[in-house]
């Protein structure tokens, strides 16, 4: 998302936050290790283990080996080595079902990533790696249910927007403490490109932790080092080790507000401050991403065979997840800087020649929505699709709201041109497709905007208050750490934001929940009867030991496209 680095005054009191003493629902996320001892294999396996993209018979597993002291990430140094791997049904590896070796070298930054096949559906497996007698920590993963099965429920952790400089990853820790998930959905902004002091904690951009390398990532070595730094975070390692992840990227995996041929935070050329050609920079970012993330790109775990990240993952007849890539193929965002006149702005965002998906991905998304097998069509959606309109928001709040969400141009117009509101013809086409085929249970799960939302998707926002027909539902998770409204305004939680939230809710009857204040994670639970999203929030991001608690739950009953508040979160939450 847009990350304008606001000069606004930092608030003075941040400690305490919202977490402590939250009553029966209070959840304490300790900093203890996750699925297995984090100390295991730290000599050679410093970056943990991970798995991702679970299918009924295969899952991608990942690690990074450091064969010599000199073989630091991005160094290009170190020998070609063989790393052994094994997958077992039990944590003690008495029942190994698959094993092998994987050759890696400096050419791939000594990452190990392979697609393990021959597994059974809906089954927990354990995996680990060996190198020179040292054993990595053990990871755990669950295969997806068989294609024709009808699982009773599916449960996913949902996260996005984890800026290491802005705080500790308590949200990851909270999810890692749970034992009731099947996988984790990450909607993008897994890491940030900025150097220290550029985008940190609050309006003063204080770095709770400093990024490495100590400058904006531009080169391949930069991207590799930044990925490596994030993978050294203990909370992140624990969550990767605990569950398979299903991930897409947003903009910061390359750089802020990227589009198909450029980005807001990219200076082309070789002159002063120049960062070279954008296509080359993006290719380097994608290369590092392919090396360091447990995802299939172009449907394989192999490197260098393509960078298509949009893909489908089936979970029996209950659900299918279609992960979108809303950066690589999109046209440039509409310029919103004054003095752009209102009519011109409006016509540009509605221009049918502009696309956020690209034509090929649009066809693919419509296929995903039309597929007959899954009941729930879950769309992993990096930026918000629900329309957001405004009548009157206090002028003094326009800048901070924009800083967080990009929702409001300075003249108060109702557009965030970086999300689907800036590409309305694509949204119209998607919603028309849903309506033309009477597609039920389309569920967009979204990140990016550093705030929690539960929305219906009206076909016609003008007629919505009377007609109330909805194409589906959108649930938006908050950020793991990235700044939200109260962080920018420097005001206490539930003060300034409440007014803004009420204005937005009053002007958008299809929006049922909005929380501009908190960071955290969500849990999405899917059954044949309903889909429910629980929002959990953390205390102060600067406090490594801060607490986690449940704050809100909303559900949509199957077939309705409507959102209703739910009293309690699903399952037994974090202990």
């Amino acid at each position: 998302m847009s990350t304008l680095r606001s000069p606004l005054r930092r608030r003075t009191v941040l400690a305490g936050g919202t977490a402590a003493g939250a009553g029966a629902a209070a959840l304490v996320a300790s900093s203890s290790a996750g699925a297995s001892s984090a100390a295991a294999g730290t000599r050679y396996f410093k970056h943990g283990v991970a798995s991702g993209d679970p299918e009924p018979n295969r899952v991608v597993i990942w690690t990074r080996v450091t064969p010599t002291e000199a073989s630091t990430p991005g160094s290009g140094k170190g020998p070609k080595v063989q790393v052994a791997w094994e997958v077992a049904k039990d944590r003690d590896f008495r029942s190994v079902v698959r094993r092998g070796t994987f050759a890696t070298s400096a050419s791939r930054d000594h990452t190990v990533k392979l697609d393990v096949g021959g597994l059974k559906p809906a089954t927990w497996y354990f995996y680990r790696f060996r190198f020179r007698g040292s054993v990595s920590r053990t990871g755990r993963m669950r295969t997806a249910p068989a294609a024709r099965s009808t699982p009773g429920h599916l449960r996913f952790g949902v996260v996005s927007c984890a800026n290491l400089q802005a705080g500790w990853f308590t949200a990851y820790r909270g999810l890692a403490k749970r034992d009731d998930l099947h996988a984790v959905l990450h909607l993008g902004d897994y890491l940030y490109e900025y150097g220290p002091g550029q985008y940190g904690y609050g309006s003063d951009n204080v770095d709770i932790r400093k990024h490495e390398p100590r400058h904006e990532m531009v080169s391949l070595a930069d991207y590799r080092q930044r990925h490596a730094q994030y993978k050294r975070d203990a909370d992140l390692q624990d969550l990767h080790a605990k569950y398979a992840w299903i991930i897409t990227w947003d903009d910061h995996e390359v750089t802020n507000d990227q589009w198909k041929a450029g980005a807001e935070n990219h200076t082309p050329g070789t002159g002063p401050g120049g960062e070279g050609g954008y296509a080359a920079r993006r290719a380097r970012a994608h290369r590092a991403y392919d090396e360091w993330m447990p995802v299939r790109m172009d449907a394989t775990a192999a490197l260098g065979d393509g960078s298509r990240l949009y893909r489908r993952l089936g979970f029996g007849q209950l659900a299918e997840i279609s992960m979108l890539d809303l950066r690589t193929y999109r046209d440039q965002q509409v310029k919103t800087a004054a003095p752009t006149p209102v009519p011109a702005l409006e016509s540009e965002v509605n221009d049918p020649d502009r696309s956020i998906l690209g034509r090929r991905q649009m066809r693919w998304l419509k296929e995903s929505l039309s597929r007959k097998s899954p009941q729930w069509k879950i769309i992993g959606n990096p930026v918000m699709i629900a329309p957001v309109t405004f009548a009157a928001v206090p002028q003094e709040l326009l800048a901070p709201i924009n800083d967080v969400t990009g929702l409001l141009p300075d003249d108060g117009l109702p557009y965030n041109v970086d999300q689907w509101d800036g590409y309305t013809d694509d949204r119209r086409e998607v919603l028309a497709h849903i309506r033309d085929h009477q597609i039920k249970d389309a569920l967009f799960v979204t990140g990016d905007i550093h705030s929690g939302w539960a929305c219906e998707l009206p076909y016609d926002i003008g007629a919505d208050p009377v007609v109330g027909d909805s194409a589906g539902v959108e649930f938006v998770c908050s950020s793991v750490t990235s700044n939200n409204l109260k962080d920018i305004t420097g005001t206490p939680s539930r003060t300034t934001s409440v007014l803004v939230e009420q204005v937005i809710l009053a002007n958008n009857q299809h929006i049922k929940y909005l929380n501009f204040d908190d960071h955290g994670f969500s849990v999405l639970d899917i059954t044949a009867k309903r889909a429910q999203m629980d929002w959990f929030i953390i205390g102060d991001r600067a406090d490594r030991r801060t607490t986690v608690r449940h704050t809100a739950s909303f559900a949509t009953r199957t077939g309705t496209g409507k959102v209703t508040r739910v009293e309690w979160p699903v399952g037994q939450a974090v202990r």
Partner: protein, 438 residues
């Protein structure tokens, strides 16, 4: 005297039924005290009673078709009885009507368990190449295959049809051992109001106690078709939902109060849903076809609300070229969603459906051949925007799971195999197209 349908002279289904009765081929049974008339083939009930009673004869299956109901309408708060029935049993949130999403073909699919390429009934209206004109598929002889009704009859079960619409009465003919003779009939809609249909259903259960009863409740569909507030607030439609729901509640109450509930399954579904269009969103393809050099005068169109069936009537040698051209013209027409070849395997429509099937987008309708007069009604179905349906199985029989939902894709064609499975009535030699859902 029993009250018989008031039908105009001619070859209508009701007139044909009346003629059968007058000729003595069917016997009129007076049931209940409200003048509800049932008929049966002469001696049929006696034959069923005399046959060897199959095991499990306390079992009862009731299929209630809430004609044209949209699945989300059960969540509207207007239908508490339907919602309770759905919530207490086994529901299929992902359920759909099958092409063409019209009343007759989907009722036929329900009772045959087969798609139109075997049933011979692809739409409400077809162009009959032998007759050289379009006609409604309301003849009993239009169904080319065995129905589950007849399958149960042969095994000695009693069956009953309570069908509110004249063309359903016609197409299912005298297949059931007992048939309601609908009355009174609303002349324009050609259907009996649900109040009378439900009264007949209650009487049939109490007086004749069929093992299988197949009921069509037509009000929600009929009020939907004519609801000129359909694109917005749907006033008439909502009133019909409330009324029909009360009648379903009365039916369930009867089953419970008479001790039948514990032995029964009650399958509730729709045959299709409903979509509404404004007067300015009407598609008419006939003129475009006639204006084309290749197609002019050689394309017949059978309009089915949200779907047009296009028939090439020219030389067979030009059929391939003509199909290509028909599709080109259709796809270039505003409001058209798709124009698949009838032979596309996924449609499974059979030759009665012509050569090209044209579907409209949501919010549109077809009016052919005359763009003004042939389809003035705002509510329509037949197109993909009307395929989602409610589908759930209630009842107290132990085979009905309690408060369950399944993500399996249920379809109208699943009804016959479900009923056959419930009664252990076997499967057709060439199998079902549908799947048993219990």
């Amino acid at each position: 005297m029993c009250e018989l349908p008031s039908c105009s002279p001619g070859d209508t289904p009701f007139a044909a039924g009346l003629a059968e009765i007058r000729a003595g081929r069917r016997t009129v049974l007076k049931a209940g005290g409200a003048g509800v008339a049932f008929s049966t083939a002469a001696g049929a009930l006696g034959a069923a009673s005399a046959s060897a009673a199959p095991p499990g004869t306390r079992k009862r299956a009731y299929v209630l078709v809430i004609d044209g109901c949209r699945p989300e309408e059960i969540d509207s708060g207007l239908t508490p009885n339907l919602a309770a029935l759905r919530g207490g049993g086994l529901r299929f949130p992902r359920a759909s009507s099958m092409p063409v999403m019209e009343t007759i073909p989907n009722h036929v699919m329900m009772m045959t368990g087969m798609r139109p390429d075997r049933t011979g009934v692809p739409a409400n209206a077809i162009y009959d190449r032998k007759l050289g004109e379009t006609r409604t598929m309301d003849r009993a002889s239009d169904i080319k295959v065995d129905t589950v009704i007849e399958r149960l009859n042969r095994k000695g079960y009693r069956t009953g049809t309570v069908l509110s619409k004249e063309y359903l009465y016609g197409v299912f003919g005298d297949r059931a051992t007992a048939r309601w003779e609908p009355a009174p009939i609303i002349p324009i809609s050609g259907h009996a109001p649900d109040h009378f249909t439900m009264r007949a259903a209650l009487s049939m259960v109490e007086e004749l106690d069929p093992h299988l009863m197949f009921v069509n409740l037509g009000d929600i569909d009929r009020f939907g078709h004519s609801d000129f507030t359909g694109t917005t607030v749907r006033v008439a439609r909502k009133l019909a939902l409330v009324d029909t729901d009360l009648l379903v509640g009365r039916f369930v109450d009867m089953l419970k109060s008479t001790g039948r509930w514990e032995h029964s399954i009650v399958i509730v579904l729709a045959d299709h849903s409903m979509d509404w269009s404004r007067p300015d969103r009407v598609i008419s393809l006939q003129a475009s076809m006639d204006d084309d050099a290749l197609l002019g005068g050689k394309v017949a169109i059978s309009a089915n609300g949200g779907a047009d069936l296009l028939y090439w009537t020219g030389p067979a040698s030009q059929r391939t070229q003509a199909v290509k051209r028909m599709r080109e013209i259709a796809l270039a027409t505003p409001g058209v969603l798709s124009a698949p070849r009838r032979t596309d395997q996924w449609l499974r429509l059979g030759p009665e459906a012509g050569d090209v099937v044209v579907f409209c987008k949501a919010g549109w309708r077809f009016s052919d051949p005359n763009p003004i007069t042939d389809n003035p009604i705002p509510g329509n179905h037949g197109h993909p925007a009307t395929r989602a349906i409610p589908f759930f199985i209630g009842g107290g029989h132990p085979r009905v799971p309690s408060r369950r939902a399944s993500s399996a894709h249920a379809k109208t064609v699943d009804i016959a195999p479900t009923i056959a499975s419930f009664f252990s009535a076997g499967t057709p030699r060439r199998g079902w197209h549908g799947t048993a859902r219990l």
